[in-house]
């Protein structure tokens, strides 16, 4: 089958356009990386594209001397690890009970959960609740409010619906109770979908800054990496031509040859790297998970 002239034009346009998409998606990341690895005074001269001109690690050395960032890094890691473990286990447990057609409370549990997808109390009532529960100013305000998430439960549940029920029945014959069926038989079979929601939860935890801003903004010991980056960003957002607009890391800036611009880029890279590390391993899982979840819901 020879392709017509029209098809050829289409193919050329298509490749050109997609290459353009490729470039505009990738370029900003490489640019950030290049600036973070470039000498700060040299960066001010402009013109850094995707390769550093005067290679240095000073920017990175500097940010790791900044106490708030170390605390932020530790807290971000802790909330990601704890939040993900608790979130995955709880979602899997609820999803298991919902996948059991014989469960008498199924309808009640499922309705209660699904409704949460359609409404929210809003910012202020949410804040008041956290205050009344004495969660403001604690680490747990990062973990507890979002731990049970209806969307994740739906994804896991639709995966479990696809597992043969005979597995559970034979285990029951052997006298296993529902919890051990869940723990020993169902959970190991659900690895792909659990990896998917683990990725969703972990990325959400790692990337969130607003809860820190709202609940723990005045509490440096509970700061997170994204929140520290946000503070630096907000101080330089209007115009990077005015270095005096920048506050926050003045102390170390004076001591070292760095600029807010370079620091910003270095922190950005530090926050992206953990995601880049897990991303390739999980890509095939999340594509499956996304498709499953959307088709079923």
């Amino acid at each position: 089958m020879k392709s017509s002239k029209g098809d050829l034009i289409f193919t050329i346009c298509n490749y050109t356009f997609l290459t353009f998409v490729f470039v505009i998606t990738l370029y900003p990341f490489l640019n950030v990386l290049a600036i973070s690895l470039n000498d700060a005074t040299d960066t001010v001269r402009g013109g850094i594209t995707i390769f550093p001109r005067e290679f240095t690690l000073d920017n990175y050395i500097t940010i790791f001397e900044y106490d708030n960032l170390i605390t932020g890094f530790v807290n971000s890691t802790l909330r990601t690890v704890i939040g993900t473990i608790l979130g995955v286990i709880s979602s899997a447990m609820v999803a298991f009970t919902l996948s059991r057609a014989d469960f008498k409370g199924r309808k009640f549990v499922s309705t209660t959960l699904v409704l949460t997808l359609y409404f929210s109390g809003g910012l202020i009532p949410g804040y008041m609740l956290m205050r009344d529960l004495h969660l403001v100013g604690t680490f747990w305000v990062y973990i507890l409010p979002g731990m049970v998430n209806a969307f994740n439960i739906i994804i896991v549940r639709s995966f479990m619906d696809g597992l043969p029920y005979a597995l559970q029945e034979s285990a029951k014959m052997d006298g296993a109770n529902d919890f051990s069926i869940f723990w020993r038989i169902i959970l190991p079979l659900c690895t792909p979908v659990l990896a998917t929601i683990a990725l969703f939860i972990a990325v959400g935890q790692w990337n969130s800054w607003f809860d820190t801003y709202l609940y723990n903004g005045s509490n440096p010991s509970l700061t997170t990496l994204q929140y520290e980056l946000m503070k630096i960003l907000q101080n330089t957002s209007i115009s990077s031509t005015d270095p005096n607009a920048y506050r926050g890391t003045e102390g170390i800036e004076a001591a070292k040859n760095v600029s807010p611009e370079s620091i910003k880029m270095a922190i950005s890279v530090v926050t992206i790297i953990p995601i880049l590390i897990v991303y390739p391993f999980l890509q095939r899982f999340f594509v499956q998970g996304m498709t499953l979840g959307a088709v079923k819901s």
């Binding site: 919902l98 809003g122 639709s158 869940f182 960003l233 957002s237 990077s240 880049l276």
Partner: protein, 319 residues
């Protein structure tokens, strides 16, 4: 949902004729495994709704419910008399509609174009690269956007001046009129690839024989897209439209918060931010709650409106 239910029926074991209390004991593990989380959801998702009562009081922290002064709709009347409120409402509606229209159509187009790529390596590389921004936080993305659009060394201005399209670099982040477009495009940059996943999956399910037959009949690429690919992913398009309309409820304020600045606040402030500034920033909890309630109402109205239009065109309801 329908499929799941039908399947479920065949799984139903024989011995489920027990009384409620009988099942409570018999299925105690299932109750142990779900009830704590139902209570959890009740506390963190349902209890805040009780807080809506604050909007009808002159709420003072530290007093009990009985001691609060009830003022009826006073805060709502104040809200509707505030000129700023209309500005904020305009911004909210504009950005959520732009986001819905582009955020829904562009991923479909992108998926179709990607699906036409025959070079496997190019296709999978492009997928990997375009999914990535979804996982990067808005804080970092806002930093990237500000950097890309800045006047000193921002690549957009470099390209514009180098090609002679403009003489002076444009201060993008201080032009209020551009803010809505910047937010919408930034969102597109971040989520386009990710949102195309589901369409690509649907396209993979289309029978290749259909394309073969169309080729024999002399249909070109564009006609194949129009007559085979698009009808093939129609159900998926509808499902995604449902989800996007549902997302109108959570207009979001993260991007506006991070990308906005004091010079263009008249274009960047959305209802949630307005509620945040008044409610928590100034400690006017009741007023802030009233704004929040109004925000929810707008979202629900939008949802019903969209559903109505959708129904008229397709005879199907999304809700």
């Amino acid at each position: 949902m329908e499929i799941a239910k039908k399947k479920a029926h065949t799984y139903k074991p024989i011995k489920n004729k027990k009384s409620f209390w009988g099942s409570l004991i018999h299925q105690r593990y299932l109750y142990f495994m779900s009830m704590p989380f139902v209570i959890w959801v009740f506390v963190f998702n349902y209890l805040p709704l009780w807080g809506w009562t604050m909007a009808f009081q002159n709420y003072r922290p530290g007093k009990s419910m009985g001691e609060q002064e009830w003022v009826g709709l006073q805060h709502f009347i104040m809200l509707f008399q505030d000129e700023r409120f209309y500005l904020v409402l305009r911004n909210t509606l504009a950005m959520s509609l732009m986001g819905l229209i582009l955020g829904f159509t562009v991923p479909i187009v992108f998926a179709i174009l990607l699906n036409e790529v025959r070079k496997k390596a190019f296709k999978s590389t492009l997928q990997t690269i375009t999914y990535l921004p979804h996982f990067v936080s808005w804080v970092v993305v806002a930093g990237i956007v500000t950097k890309v659009l800045s006047i000193d060394g921002g690549v957009v201005n470099q390209v514009l001046t180098a090609t002679g399209l403009v003489d002076e670099p444009i201060q993008f982040m201080t032009k209020g009129g551009l803010f809505w477009i910047i937010v919408t495009l930034a969102d597109l940059w971040k989520e386009m690839g990710w949102n195309s996943i589901i369409f690509l999956a649907a396209m993979a399910g289309i029978d290749p024989q259909l394309y073969e037959a169309a080729k024999v009949d002399g249909a070109g690429r564009l006609r194949q897209i129009w007559h085979i690919t698009l009808p093939g992913i129609r159900p998926t398009i509808l499902v995604v439209l449902i989800l996007s309309i549902g997302n109108l409820i959570s207009i979001g304020f993260e991007k506006q918060f991070l990308l906005g600045n004091s010079t263009i606040v008249d274009y960047s402030e959305v209802l949630d931010l307005y509620a945040l500034n008044y409610g928590i920033g100034l400690g006017r909890f009741s007023y802030g709650t009233a704004i929040g309630i109004f925000n929810s109402l707008v979202s629900i109205i939008l949802l019903f409106l969209a559903n109505g239009i959708f129904k008229r065109f397709t005879n199907q309801s999304v809700m």
